[in-house]
Amino acid sequence: MRKRSATVALTLMGAAFALSGCREDRTEASSFPDLASCRAEAEAGSLNFTPADCDAAFAQAQADHEETAPRYDALAVCEEEHGVGNCEQQAEAGGGFSFMPLLAGMMIGQMLGGRGIMSQPLVNTANGRFATPGGTSVASNNGRGAMNASAFQKAPATVGRPPMSQADVMRRGGFGSSGAARTSFGG
């Protein structure tokens, strides 16, 4: 009986991972730091959007920001997540205050099947990038590129909910520090 595999996977090109799962629907997306820059590009004709689309998208992004942006119980926690100077105090409807990241722009994209436009607000992240309330991270608030359509899904509302404390905030980097000096973790 043969002691070796009939076939094996021969390549190390990342394809074992890239091929996995379903490929999501993609859409062309643009990001802008403010309404004026969106309108300026729309007027120059370099977009599929009209200035009026910009107005509607930005108004929607602003409303979504108020409703879904993360809220924190302390300025320090907010600044740790979004960078120093990028947070503001917000009065809570039921009394008291929370801290929210400032709106740092919006992402705008074409709905699938050309059924109009969609948008999401952007805020700063601690590492100099930008993120939607749903957690999609983009490098710039002034660029274009293909994006998973699901990045435009509205995030759950945070308004009226208890603000996040230090303990609630997503943490990263909790694995790896104990072996960090080694050249390889395997053997």
Partner: protein, 402 residues
């Protein structure tokens, strides 16, 4: 076992590049070396390597059964108090093992277990795929006879094992530390096998793993990790900030936490106590128990007395060292050879009788017997000029002569 010279494939470098195998050389030294290869008979592979290694794995399982029932042994083996429940529960729930690699000293007689990397073995891609391709190419080129074979069901066995461990379409995240080509190659080879076994395979850098507000692990794109293969040792996890988050996360880990007991050289004295005299084991002891007896004859035990001759030349190894670090070979009280890398000097150690590796053309081969699930399924060989096989040793292909 013998070694023969063979022509290197003319298109070796093109083949490696095409495959994305980027570490043919490491640290300026050849790593993959096909200018010679080791030849075995089928009977030798089956009776000297395959069957004994499967049996050794079963003995390790028996040792785990005993260790998880003993707070004292868990303590001795360096499992921190806060993680003993995790280790024991993973065993009681029968969380299945995926893979491991036993390092064996073999000179034509009984193979001897040097140690068992049962948690994070690498060189998986070289063994399962690049070595396999080498055999196919050398047969096609007429350099090896058409009936030549190789002890290498590694890829197929892994695919079957994934399919046995998880339901179809189960999503598994594979995590390795960023920037280590060798580690990445191992997780990608595993991911190919997982896909073939019907799993969904996703990659995440180890350092990018996050912990959500709900206490679940998440990948770099904030997707929840339900099952995590981590090419990162349990003993390091125990010391990491996220170690304590594993139980509340509900995340299924591969390897399971009980492998922290197997991939730990402290299992070697436990095995020797349970199976003293087994032909594939070397006498082994906790250094704390025998240091006095070896130094000036004070203390000791009947078990030790029966192995005194075998221990005249012995090896001192840390519980958790990798790539030969902090290993010393002592002969008649004097160092015969010591590792340059002293990264693990501080930890607890064991003493094991020395089994000299055979020498072929100035190189000493160590056999890597690959276990998938509970069976030995493949062989990968590394050789070094030094007695202590270290991270710059060479990978050597092998074949079974018809």
């Amino acid at each position: 076992m013998h070694k023969i010279a063979l022509p290197e494939r003319a298109d070796l470098h093109a083949k490696a590049e095409e495959a994305g195998f980027s570490f043919l050389e490491m640290g300026g030294e050849p790593y993959w070396d096909e200018t010679s290869a080791y030849a075995f008979t089928l009977e030798e592979v089956e009776t000297r390597i395959e069957d004994p290694s499967s049996e050794l794995h079963g003995m390790c399982r028996a040792a785990v059964e005993r260790i998880v029932a003993s707070e004292e042994l868990m303590d001795r083996m360096g499992i921190p108090p806060g993680f003993r429940d995790l280790v024991a529960t993973s065993w009681q729930r029968q969380e299945g093992e995926l893979y491991g690699r036993m390092d064996l000293a073999y000179d034509g007689g009984d193979a001897k277990l040097l140690e068992y990397n049962a948690d994070t073995p690498t060189s998986l891609y070289e063994t399962a795929a690049f070595q396999w391709q080498w055999l196919e190419d050398q047969i096609a080129a007429g350099a090896l006879p058409a009936g030549a074979d190789q002890f290498n069901r590694l890829h197929e066995a892994l695919a079957e094992r994934f399919a046995a461990m998880f339901p179809p379409d189960h999503d598994i995240h594979f995590a390795a530390a960023a920037g280590h080509a060798e580690d990445y190659a191992t997780v990608e080879a595993l991911a190919w096998a997982a896909r073939e076994g019907g799993m969904g395979a996703h990659y995440t850098d180890l350092g990018q793993i996050g912990l959500s507000a709900e206490g679940q692990f998440t990948d770099a794109e904030d997707r929840v990790i339900g099952t995590l293969f981590k090419l990162y040792p349990w003993e390091d996890i125990f010391a990491d900030e996220f170690g304590a988050a594993i139980v509340p996360s509900g995340c299924r880990m591969i390897e399971p936490a009980w492998k922290a007991l197997v991939s730990n050289k402290a299992i070697l004295p436990v095995l020797w106590e349970m199976f003293e005299g087994h032909p594939n084991l070397l006498p082994a002891f906790f250094l704390d128990d025998v240091a006095g007896a070896l130094r000036d004859g004070t203390g000791g035990s009947a078990l030790l007395d029966r192995s005194r001759d075998a221990l005249r030349t012995h090896v001192v190894k840390p519980f958790f060292s990798r790539e030969g670090a902090s290993v010393d070979i002592i002969e008649g009280g004097r160092p015969l050879e010591t590792a340059h890398d002293r990264a693990y000097d501080q930890g607890a150690k064991i003493v094991q009788a020395y089994a000299p590796l055979p020498v072929f053309d100035g190189f000493r081969p160590v056999l890597g017997a690959w276990i998938v699930g509970e069976e030995c399924v493949a062989l990968g060989i590394r050789e070094d000029r030094a007695r202590i096989t270290q991270d710059l040793s060479r990978f050597k292909p092998h074949f079974i002569a018809p």
